[in-house]
Amino acid sequence: MEGESFTDINGTPIFLDCQSHSTFCREFTVTSPKVPVTKVIVFTCSIWLLAYAVFLFTEDTVVLTSAILITLVSMMLYVHLVKVEQETLFIIGSLGVQMSSSYASGRETTTFIELNKIKDIVINEAIYMHQIIYYLCVLLKDPSDPDAVSSVVPLFQSSKPRLNCLMKVYRSCQEILSKCP
């Protein structure tokens, strides 16, 4: 179990944890930092102050109730659908690659790609707004045409680590992929 701190493309610190279960089976976990309490407080207070200001003009308590409901529902939806706590890449030689994201509410989504569909795992460049970033992706091959790349599945989309972190993961993956054809 080795863990290291890296930064993502925006500069926030993330944590990479490599676990080697066997010579052909490795697991990489990238953990994002949690939502700071100050942000939550700022968000809640701003909505409630705005609602109170509207209430002063309209004298209708529906405004206040709706503000409370909006804050609660939006925070629940954010925690359940948006905020990714950690992303895991689980590579099993001769079986396939599994990617899973776990959200702050505890929900986990998992995808498994079999080895016969994987052409390669590479680091790609992309133009993202005003910058060029690197991202790790899995190249899938078409069953009818084994030489062509049918689609690209990007990994670690929410945590977006930088190149140094990606290189580590890439080297480990290539070791395993090269051993098991």
């Binding site: 052909f24 599994q98 498994f112 079999e114 098991c180």
Partner: protein, 636 residues
């Protein structure tokens, strides 16, 4: 190369015996299906395997031996190893487990190296000799098991030499040898995998180059005859699998299955009678005079009736469903019909209690009167100076009087029908007994019939407007000295005679100045028609929803989610350094949105092919729009 063994979780604590399963073609893996216990007669085991192979079509074989030794069994290990000679296989797996230990130990014996078992072990206690036999190294080049840990009882009884190596020596060995075989155990829940269906559903036969997981799922689901032997059977063999504790079934399901056979027979007899009546009707010359077919294709009630009767006919056929898709389709249709009828009965209960029908009937005629009055006021407004625009007095009067007369006719018709409205509603409400979709379809038809005058107005206004637009565009071209070339489909210049120009310009001016009047009438009636269309559209969408929503699939996804699998997910069970890696394979269920998309029952409504821009263009030009055209289903 890694050898993958798919091992069922129910056999984790099985007593020692033989492993029955199947090697997966094209991949270096095997699926273990059951463990046959000692004592057994090898000839009977072979016969049993052949029998199951004939029943299920799966290529079964004895994969190897499994030993979980308790205190009483001491000599089982050797016995099981010697069985190798009786069951001739290419590869023989010897899996063993100690009570209290999580990991298994496995060694593979190859046919080409009989009797030579090279089991490498890592010395955890360093108790045995640490000699490296290099010649045995080279001998075992092509068939090696990389397994760690001693088999405790066979240690003293082993005739072959054992090797104990530390990690460093093993790494050196890896570099020296050309091939090493690692072992990976994937544990799966046998019942879940047997019942599950991987999506996207493939109906063709699997070829060996195909997905390994699909083959595993298919092998387990086809091996159902293997799981019928439970421990209470008095046969010669005892085996362990997920159902070895006894078969379980639900009494309600069995009773329903038995009851469904006579029910299906009666329904199919009823439909044969019905189709005979229908063919008689369509063949009789008398009814050819009436435009029955055309009417039936326009009324949504008839379309819905034919659609549902198709479904019921398909359901009531005595053949059982073959394959997963057909089964899901039938189940979805059945559940949708039942839910439809339940909702229909609720509606009927609401309608026929508390005198709701007479209330509705009493409200209907004044409502129609009110609509007619509003329309008359609208026309009077148009005949005056609507929104400050100045209309052409003569044309205005003509059009206004024409439409007013129409409304007057329609009002008298409604008043004529008013005593019968309640009876009509009462009998119409009975149709809700067939299902809520029928009641909604009937409502949509009634709305269409009651607003027929609006449809007529729209058609008149649209035709007039369309003629005007074409006339105007053609005369405008004449005004500029151009002509539409039909052959070349383009605008060409043309020299007109003086009298042609004179008449053309005159007509053009007339049409141009009459244009606002017609355009306004057209606009008003198109808006009214669109309102009615929107109302009918909502009703049709609801009927479509009831018809196509796969309620059974959604319920299955919520209650038995393992049956609809999108994929699998793995998690690590045991990764101790001296045992092979153990993974747990769980089923990743399909998301609800994909369930609905995959199992939607196809319906008869075809949505408008025009996009919004096309629709606006058609409205502008004055072409008639048919928003909800039905695809008719042939019943004969």
């Amino acid at each position: 190369m890694v050898l993958k063994i798919f091992y069922p979780q129910c056999c984790n604590l099985a007593n020692s015996g033989l492993l029955i399963g199947s090697w997966i073609q094209g991949h270096n893996s095997a699926v273990v299906l059951a463990v046959v216990h000692y004592p057994f007669i090898p000839g009977q085991v072979k016969r049993y395997i052949q029998q199951i192979q004939a029943q299920s079509g799966v290529k079964l074989s004895v994969l190897g031996s499994w030993s979980l030794p308790s205190e009483a069994e001491k000599g089982v290990e050797n016995f099981l190893r010697d069985l190798r000679t009786i069951f001739p296989q290419d590869r023989w797996l010897q899996i063993s487990r100690k009570m209290g230990q999580t990991g298994f130990n496995c060694s593979i014996l190859d046919r080409s190296q009989p009797g030579k078992e090279a089991a490498q072990q890592k010395a955890t206690e360093d108790e045995d000799d640490e000699d490296n036999e290099d010649d045995e190294d080279e001998d075992d080049e092509d068939e090696d098991d990389e397994d760690e840990d001693e088999e405790e009882e066979t240690e003293e009884k082993k005739e072959e030499t054992e090797k104990e190596e530390t990690e460093k020596e093993e790494e050196k060995k890896e570099k020296e040898e050309t091939e090493k075989e690692k072992i990976l155990f994937v544990h799966y829940d046998q019942r879940n995998v047997m019942l599950s269906q991987l999506h996207p559903i493939q109906t063709e036969e699997l070829d060996p180059s195909d997905s390994e997981l699909r083959q595993v799922f298919q092998i387990v689901s086809l091996s159902q005859p293997l799981f019928l032997l439970d421990r209470y059977d008095d046969g010669p063999l005892k085996s362990t699998h997920w159902q070895s504790g006894g078969q379980e079934a639900s009494i309600i399901v069995e009773l329903l299955k038995m009851a469904s056979v006579p029910l299906c027979l009666t329904i199919s007899w009823f439909f044969s009678v019905w189709s005979r009546i229908c063919s008689f009707c369509s063949n009789s010359r008398l009814l050819h005079l009436l435009p029955l077919n055309f009417l039936c294709s326009k009324l949504s009630t008839c379309v819905q009736l034919s659609y549902r009767s198709d479904h019921l006919r398909a359901l009531s056929s005595p053949k059982t469903a073959v394959g997963h898709s057909e089964f899901m389709r039938k189940a979805n249709v059945l559940v949708s019909i039942l839910v439809d009828m339940a909702l229909g009965f609720l509606l009927m209960y609401w309608l026929y209690s508390d005198n709701h029908i007479s209330m509705l009937a009493n409200a209907l005629v004044p409502a129609a009167d009110h609509v007619a009055k509003e329309l008359e006021e609208l026309l009077q407004w148009l005949m005056g100076a609507p929104a400050g625009l100045k209309m052409n007095r003569a044309l205005d009067e003509v059009l206004g009087r024409f439409f007013l007369y129409h409304i007057h006719l329609w009002i008298s018709y409604i008043h004529l029908m008013s005593p019968f409205v309640e009876t009509i509603l009462w009998y119409g409400g009975l149709s809700a007994g067939l299902g809520l979709s029928f009641a909604l379809a009937l409502l949509s038809d009634m709305v269409a019939l009651l607003t027929f005058h609006i449809y007529c107005f729209y058609v008149y206004g649209a035709r007039l407007y369309c003629l005007k637009i074409y006339g105007l565009s053609s005369l405008w071209r004449l005004f500029r000295g151009k002509k539409w070339n039909v052959l070349r489909q383009r605008v060409d210049s043309c020299s007109y005679d003086l009298d042609q120009l004179f008449i053309g310009t005159l007509l053009f001016t007339i049409l141009l100045f009459l244009f606002p009047t017609t355009a306004l009438y057209y606009l008003v009636f198109t808006l009214l028609r669109l309102l009615v269309v929107v109302l009918q559209g909502i009703l049709h969408l609801t009927v479509d929803l009831i018809n196509s929503l796969p309620l059974f699939a959604v319920a299955l996804r919520l209650t038995r989610f393992y049956r609809l699998a999108e994929g699998v997910k793995f998690s690590v069970l045991c990764d101790e350094p001296d045992t092979p890696l153990h993974l747990l394979m769980e089923i990743n269920p399909l998301s609800c949105a994909s369930v609905i998309k995959t199992y939607r029952t196809p319906t008869y409504s075809c949505y408008p092919k025009d996009s919004w821009t096309n629709l606006v263009k058609k409205l502008f030009v004055g072409e008639l729009i048919y928003p909800w055209k039905h695809k008719t289903i042939k019943t004969d």
